[in-house]
């Protein structure tokens, strides 16, 4: 081999080596998951949907103005606490719609106030929410969405920082997804998925995009950041107290932080049970107005929770 051949080999070595290194590192990153962003989002949605399928829960909602001191999250003022019972079932085509009812147990002056919600996977169908106004003796349907290019907010859950939209599942076709990164987060292997609403969904959503830190083993969301339509972060969700209940991984503590108003709501699941028999008739306006029917049914459901 002549000197020109050797020089040729050496001059080609750099780009070849570079390509080799890139291929190796690429394989290494992609080897963490073979799933696409959309597939990860589907699995996370399916995991979350399991927690709403024939589920009965007792929830403590703690709302306060918060501060961060030495990295720790604390209430800056005395918290407002609500204790709520909730029943949910998955229904509709492929069980992708959710019907749920939430009843306030405490504080005493709000006891008995109920909210009934139907959320639909079909983006062409508006979600529906009703609340019972006992002083007026009627059920009132609440408006939950707006139109045009103005910012919107869906109804909040009993005045907390949690909105109906925050609790929605499904409507995956209304978003585009991409993986921002994969790595270790809070000791778990996660993928960071960025979801951006498509134009027809953008008008109905409060958020311009969301980022979700999804556990790649359990497919539960450990953290979520919500951005407004100017891509400014406005809300954050942190999940804690992760447990496996009835073979379903879930978080028993969800903290929603409104980054604009510096207020948070923590949703702590005191008791929960899945796969219990919830009659369709319980998830109707009757459960809001017929207190005898509702209370009798709630006693039966309470007996089944852990």
């Amino acid at each position: 081999m002549g000197p020109l051949s050797s020089k040729y080999i050496y001059s080609l070595a750099t780009p070849i080596l570079l390509v080799f290194v890139l291929i190796i590192t690429s394989i290494d990153v992609n080897a963490k998951t073979n799933l696409s962003a959309r597939e990860i989002a589907e699995l996370a949605d399916e995991s979350r949907r399991k927690t709403t399928d024939s589920a009965f829960t007792k929830i403590i909602l703690t709302t306060c103005k918060y501060g961060i001191s030495s990295g720790k999250l604390k209430c800056a003022k005395k918290a407002r606490i609500k204790v709520v019972e909730s029943a949910q079932v998955n229904t509709g085509l492929n069980n992708k719609d959710v019907k749920s009812i939430a009843i306030i147990l405490e504080p005493a002056n709000e006891r008995g106030i109920g909210m009934l919600s139907f959320t639909y996977d079909d983006s062409d169908r508006d979600n529906e929410t009703w609340i019972y106004l006992s002083a007026l003796g009627k059920v009132k349907r609440m408006s939950t969405s707006s139109n045009d290019d103005e910012e919107t907010e869906s109804a909040s859950l009993f005045g907390t920082e949690i909105t109906i939209e925050d609790q929605e599942t499904g409507k995956l076709d209304d978003y585009s997804y991409k993986i921002l990164g994969e790595g270790k987060f809070r000791g778990r292997s996660v993928a960071i998925i960025e979801s951006t609403p498509k134009p027809h969904r953008l008008n109905k959503s409060r958020y311009g995009k969301t980022r979700s830190w999804i556990d790649l083993d359990r497919f539960i969301t450990l953290k979520m950041q919500m951005f407004d339509k100017n891509k400014k972060p406005i809300k954050q969700l942190d999940a804690g107290k992760v447990e496996k209940i009835n073979d379903i991984w879930m978080s028993r503590s969800l903290t929603f932080m409104n980054l604009v108003t510096q207020r948070l709501t923590n949703m702590k699941i005191e008791a929960i049970n899945f796969n219990i028999n919830i009659e369709p008739s319980f998830l109707t306006q009757r459960a809001l107005t017929d207190q005898a029917f509702r209370e009798k049914y709630l006693i039966d459901l309470r007996g089944q929770t852990k």
Partner: protein, 430 residues
């Protein structure tokens, strides 16, 4: 191989590598993800983050323990209410303290019951002090028994008909006053039959509440009222049909003999709600048959069509509600008269009124504000009301509100012209 060919190969290989590098860089950003995305800006309770020793039981926020309420079905509320009249040197018109006891709970044999008792103590500058120093009233008291398909409710409570509060169909329970939109409860019995997406309700009221006219004798309070309502839920929204024999909530003065009476009439109605382009549209329509009206020295029967439409929109925490209400006399004569406290005025065939209400919170804080502006289309009456509510804590709340009414002096609302009130309320809930 010639030197030129070697150069070409070298350039070619470098170009391919560069293209590959650029393609990889832009198409697989996973490699380039910021490390900051994986850092936690919040600390978990018992975690040494540097040691990366997270456990599933950790949490970013520790909720406070709840105070277990020994008597979950018992509520006690203490209120102090003060109202002044700015138009009369800020003279006090209302000063009273109220104690409300609220009990809710299950009854034997799958029943449920509620009881609310309100005790009032009037202070010397309260307008009611001249007639009574204190008062105890049962605000609400009912029992309800339900089976799989049926439910029956008996006692003193409120039935709200229609989609629009105070609208054409919301006529069973009278509103306490112009500035207090909460309806008064009445002694009623009702029963409901339930199906999957529909239900049929019937109610009966043996002795309806009738608001008397000051210094006018009220004749014959013996009329009862009853009605039925059929509700249907479908994919579009909720709709209801109403049929009833009702007694008006207010007595009508007979100009001829100076007495008053609430004459029964018949109602056929329909209401529905529907979400359209982000608005929630609600509408009520009612055909009222055999209403009484004063005409040239006698009372005549007339029919009237009442309708209302409301646009409800939620934008962040702000709720907008725009309502139009209309009353149209089917039978009309130019010598129709409407009696007021001070005069008899001519009646218009068609009356239209508008209202716009907005309510919201200040920066999502514990302070809420509300504004209501209402007017008749012919300017006979204009009302402006505004208020601020403060949720001090779970136990304490307070509010301040103001109302002003302007009315034409020669029309039916003339007695309300110049009405002004500023009210303050402080509440404690146990």
């Amino acid at each position: 191989m010639s030197q030129l060919k070697y150069k070409k190969c070298e350039v070619c290989a470098s170009g391919v590598a560069s293209l590959f590098f650029l393609y990889y860089f832009f198409s697989t950003p996973t490699v380039m993800a910021e490390e900051s995305l994986f850092k936690d800006e919040l600390s978990f309770d018992s975690v040494e983050q540097e040691l990366d020793s997270y456990s599933d039981s950790d949490d970013v926020f520790e909720a406070e323990e709840t105070n277990n309420n020994k008597y979950p079905g018992l509520g006690v509320k203490l209120s102090h209410k003060l109202s002044v009249n700015p138009a009369d040197n800020w003279e006090t018109t209302k000063q009273r303290t109220e104690l409300t006891l609220d009990i809710k709970g299950l009854l034997p044999r799958s029943g449920y019951g509620e009881l609310q008792i309100n005790a009032k103590r009037y202070w010397p500058n309260d307008s009611s002090y001249a007639t009574e120093i204190s008062d105890i009233e049962v605000e609400r008291a009912f029992t309800q028994f339900s089976s799989e398909k049926w439910s029956t409710k008996l006692g003193k409570y409120t039935i709200g008909w229609g989609e629009i509060e105070g609208g054409p169909l919301d006529v069973i329970n009278p509103i306490a006053s112009l500035t207090d939109p909460i309806p008064e409860s009445q002694w009623l019995i009702s029963t409901t039959r339930y199906w999957n997406n529909s239900n049929l309700s019937l109610f009966y009221n043996q002795s309806p509440n009738i608001t008397k006219i000051a210094n006018v004798n009220l004749n014959d309070k013996s009329n009862s009222e009853f009605g039925l309502r059929f509700d249907l839920k479908d994919d579009v929204g909720d709709s209801s049909i109403y049929l009833a024999r009702l007694v008006p909530n207010s007595a009508l003065k007979d100009i001829a003999n100076g007495d008053s009476k609430a004459h029964p009439y018949q109602l056929l109605g329909y209401s529905a709600n529907q979400a359209v382009e982000g608005y929630l549209i609600k509408y009520d329509i009612a055909y009222k048959n055999n209403l009484k009206h004063n005409r040239s020295g006698s009372l005549v029967s007339v029919d009237r069509i009442d309708w209302g439409i409301a646009l409800d929109r939620q934008k962040e925490d702000r709720q907008w509600l725009f309502t139009i209400n209309s009353k149209h006399l089917v039978d009309y004569y130019s010598d129709f008269l409407t009696p007021t406290l001070t005069q008899n005025v001519s009646t218009r065939r068609h009356n239209l009124s508008y209202s716009l209400s907005v309510n919201d919170t200040f920066d999502n804080s514990d302070y809420k504000w509300n504004i209501l502006a209402s007017s008749t289309s012919n300017g006979d009456m204009k009302l402006l009301s505004t208020g601020i509510d403060w949720d001090i804590s779970d136990q304490w709340s307070s509010s301040i509100n103001g109302t002003k009414i302007i009315a034409s002096s020669d029309r039916e609302f003339s007695i309300l012209d110049g009405y002004e009130r500023v009210g303050i309320e402080l509440n404690y809930h146990y």
